[in-house]
């Protein structure tokens, strides 16, 4: 019986003009998303390579490592072509220095704000917005529509078990809608290497997981639609109810959760933190000046050489002491801000996850490695590189402040040779392994699975007692 219902659903859905038109639109959009994404990747890759080359080029001919202006760049992520996440919002460039905090700057949207206005049409957007509507369009009248059309009565005049009917109905609708949609997605996947997106095994696995998350998300809206069609007597009422749910899930809940979190957890801005740091640095400077004056009064004598050496030693000690104080203060400030920021993020994401759309977006960006983790891991990589860079610069007699220490202090020596930029340590950003991406996405994949289970069970149980 299940097979008969399944077969009927497949033929009924696929044979309609509504399906042909909707499928055609979705197929074009999906292929367009792959094409546009791949083109964007190529442009980003070219910009990245040009920036790296230009960075090296501007050092060529310099004779002093202390005068270089070294920058590192975040390479474009292959899967950002399909799930842009925050990859266009975070800074891709870091001005490298031997000490102090590193800041990211130069995001794509910062440079091309036009793209920030409407954002890109990527695969995640198509799943989140268009395919969820596609599921609603074909599921809202699954049961009550059959009752309204009179086919439900004729069907159940036959020995049809209700459980097998609703099972066949849900599975049939799911297969009839998702299998055809997989065709343009698979064609798009095959286009990626052809369009110059380097896809290694790791990237393919991530992409497969993103598509799996998309299928789960599609299932949420399909099972929800069937559930609504068993819950409400009229198909027009279920369509209205589903559109309201869709608006809340897709447009309102994710945005509201960020607003609520922002209101409930106060995180100081970067400017506020910078102000605090400047104020403390000024305070330390005054303390240092006061200490120097006291030292000079206490240690004044006519032996200038002795006094100068003593003052230099005292100043160096003071500098080390104040550096330590400053570092401790900055660490405390940063930690406090990071803790509050983490709390706010936690509150926002927990609230947002009421919506399956938020769960899908988070899972997809985790898997594509374009989530908020991208920024922190880039900063971590930059910090790790800073240590390497700092050691290198010291080996080249450049102090923490970037000042070249000349040996002997004699200006009559020959002009030094140009620096060899090949000696500079190379920054390479490595994506975390796929196991970490899967681990990060598991809670959201679990939520999507749970939404499916709840709505499927709701439709199933409700239909067992449905008034024919």
């Amino acid at each position: 019986m299940f097979n008969i219902i399944l077969d009927k659903e497949l033929r009924e859905i696929i044979g309609t003009t509504k399906f042909a038109v909707t499928f055609g639109v979705c197929a074009v959009l999906i292929l367009l998303a792959f094409y546009v994404g791949a083109r964007n990747y190529q442009v980003s890759r070219q910009e990245y390579e040009a920036a790296v080359a230009e960075n090296i080029q501007q050092m060529e001919g310099l004779t002093d490592w202390g005068s270089i202006d070294h920058r590192i760049f975040l390479p474009p992520q292959p899967l950002a072509t399909l799930v842009s996440g925050v990859s266009n919002d975070i800074g891709r460039t870091v001005n490298m220095q031997s000490r102090g905090e590193l800041r990211t700057e130069g995001s794509r949207f910062n440079e091309d704000p036009l793209f920030a206005v409407f954002r890109y049409l990527d695969l995640e957007y198509i799943f989140a917005i268009i395919l969820s509507l596609f599921a609603i369009l074909f599921g809202y009248d699954a049961v009550n529509g059959e009752k309204e059309r009179g086919t439900l009565g004729l069907t159940f005049a036959n020995p049809v078990p209700r459980d097998q009917y609703i099972l066949g109905k849900i599975v049939g609708s799911f297969v009839a809608l998702i299998v055809p949609l997989m065709i343009p997605i698979l064609i798009g996947c095959l286009m990626l290497p052809v369009l110059g997106v380097p896809m290694d095994m790791d990237s393919w696995l991530r992409l497969a997981m993103v598509i799996l998350a998309g299928i789960l998300y599609f299932g949420v809206f399909l099972t929800l639609s069937v559930f609504m069609s068993t819950l409400l007597q009229s198909s027009s009422a279920s369509l209205m109810a589903l559109l309201v749910v869709w608006i809340f899930a897709v447009l309102i809940i994710p945005r509201t959760s960020v607003l609520v979190a922002g209101r409930s957890v106060d995180v100081p801005s970067v400017d506020q933190i910078d102000y605090e740091k400047s104020r403390f640095a000024a305070q330390l400077w005054n303390e240092r000046m006061t200490a120097m004056q006291k030292w000079m009064k206490a240690n004044y004598n006519d032996d200038h050489r002795q006094m100068r050496d003593g003052m230099r030693t005292f100043s160096t000690e003071q500098q080390a002491l104040q550096d330590e104080k400053m570092n401790t203060f900055v660490e405390q400030l940063n930690e406090q801000r990071a803790n509050k920021s983490d709390l706010r993020t936690g509150v926002a994401l927990s609230l947002a996850r009421i919506s399956p759309t938020a769960s899908f977006s988070l899972a997809a960006s985790d898997l594509a490695y374009t989530s908020m983790e991208l920024r922190s891991s880039y900063v971590e990589s930059a910090n790790a590189y800073q240590q390497e860079y700092s050691a290198f610069m010291q080996s080249k007699n450049v102090d923490y402040w970037g000042r070249y220490r000349r040996h002997g202090g004699n200006d009559d020596v020959e002009e030094p040779d140009p620096i060899d930029t090949r000696e500079l340590p190379v920054f390479s950003y490595q994506q975390p392994p796929i196991s970490e991406a899967i681990k990060a996405s598991l809670p959201d994949l679990g939520l999507l699975f749970m939404f499916n289970a709840i709505f499927f069970s709701g439709a199933f149980v409700r239909f067992l007692r449905y008034d024919l």
Partner: protein
């Protein structure tokens, strides 16, 4: 079951006099959750090879009776039986023995007639029919061959009705339930349908038909029942109705008068008091 029913069916099918009713209602009562009494202690029986026509106005309980046999709703008390199987206790087993044609047959509009027949035949447990079988049955119910391969969204109500009857024939069930089956059929198709019913009766089917069509009911039925406000107020065999004016009898029963008072039926019939609202 009352004596009238027994005698009516006995007259029409002597050879089956000893057999059990194929379709049987025993004290069938349905009261909805809002308190509305839609069916009140209705009993009748239909033997193999017999047609029972239920007459009655809108809300009389005809469709409720059929829905109880189909287990679309459960009885408050009493039983609906098909071949001795209580429909609300063993609905799937009972439905194997029931074919059903609704008042307004609605099939899948994007399927052709043959695709619809194939789907419902398989639902009814018939998996061995060929396309030729489907064509034959569609021709038998009067649907021209040129329409067999067309999608149903272009069909008229009469054409859909013919498809519904074809589905019922294909199921080859011993019990047939017809809810206003001639609704939407033109006079010619109506006559063809009556002949078809007679053929099915000849094949030994027990047929329960609800209808507003008094003349066709009289023409084809072995027993006629009149329902009013959920009560089976009259049940007589065709032989007993011989020479009677069924239309006047119908009006009289619907107005609440007894058979003996036929001569005194007023020209204007008073409205029934506390008319029962049902889902019919």
């Amino acid at each position: 079951m009352n004596d009238e029913t027994k005698s009516g069916i006995d007259i029409q099918s002597d050879s089956m006099a000893a057999s059990q009713p194929r379709i049987e209602a025993v004290n069938l009562t349905k009261r909805y959750e809002d308190g509305t009494l839609a069916l009140d202690n209705v009993s009748f029986g239909i033997n193999p090879g017999s047609i029972f026509a239920m007459l009655g106005g809108n809300g009389a309980g005809k469709t409720t009776t059929i829905n109880l046999f189909l287990n679309f709703i459960e009885p408050t008390s009493g039983e609906a039986l098909v071949d001795g199987i209580v429909t609300h206790k063993e609905p799937l087993k009972a439905k194997e023995r029931i074919a059903y044609v609704s008042e307004n047959v609605m099939l899948y509009p994007n399927f052709t007639a043959i695709q619809n027949l194939d789907f419902f035949a398989r639902l009814g447990g018939k998996h061995d029919y060929s396309k030729d079988d489907y064509r034959d049955v569609l021709l038998r119910v009067g649907l021209e061959e040129v329409a067999h391969g067309r999608r149903l969204k272009g069909y008229s109500k009469g054409m859909r009705q013919k498809c519904g009857i074809a589905i019922a024939i294909l199921k080859d069930a011993p019990a047939i339930l017809l809810d206003e089956p001639t609704s939407g059929l033109d006079p010619h198709a109506g006559l063809e349908f009556i002949q078809l019913l007679k053929d099915l009766r000849g094949e030994g089917k027990a047929i329960l038909m609800s209808t507003h069509d008094i003349f066709r009911a009289k023409d084809v039925s072995d027993t006629i029942g009149i329902m009013n406000e959920g009560v089976l107020v009259m049940e007589r065999s065709a032989a007993e109705l011989e020479g009677e004016n069924l239309e006047q009898l119908y009006v009289q029963y619907m107005a609440g008068y007894e058979g003996s008072e036929l001569a005194s039926v007023p020209e204007s019939v008073p409205d029934s008091e506390q008319r029962v609202e049902t889902n019919d």
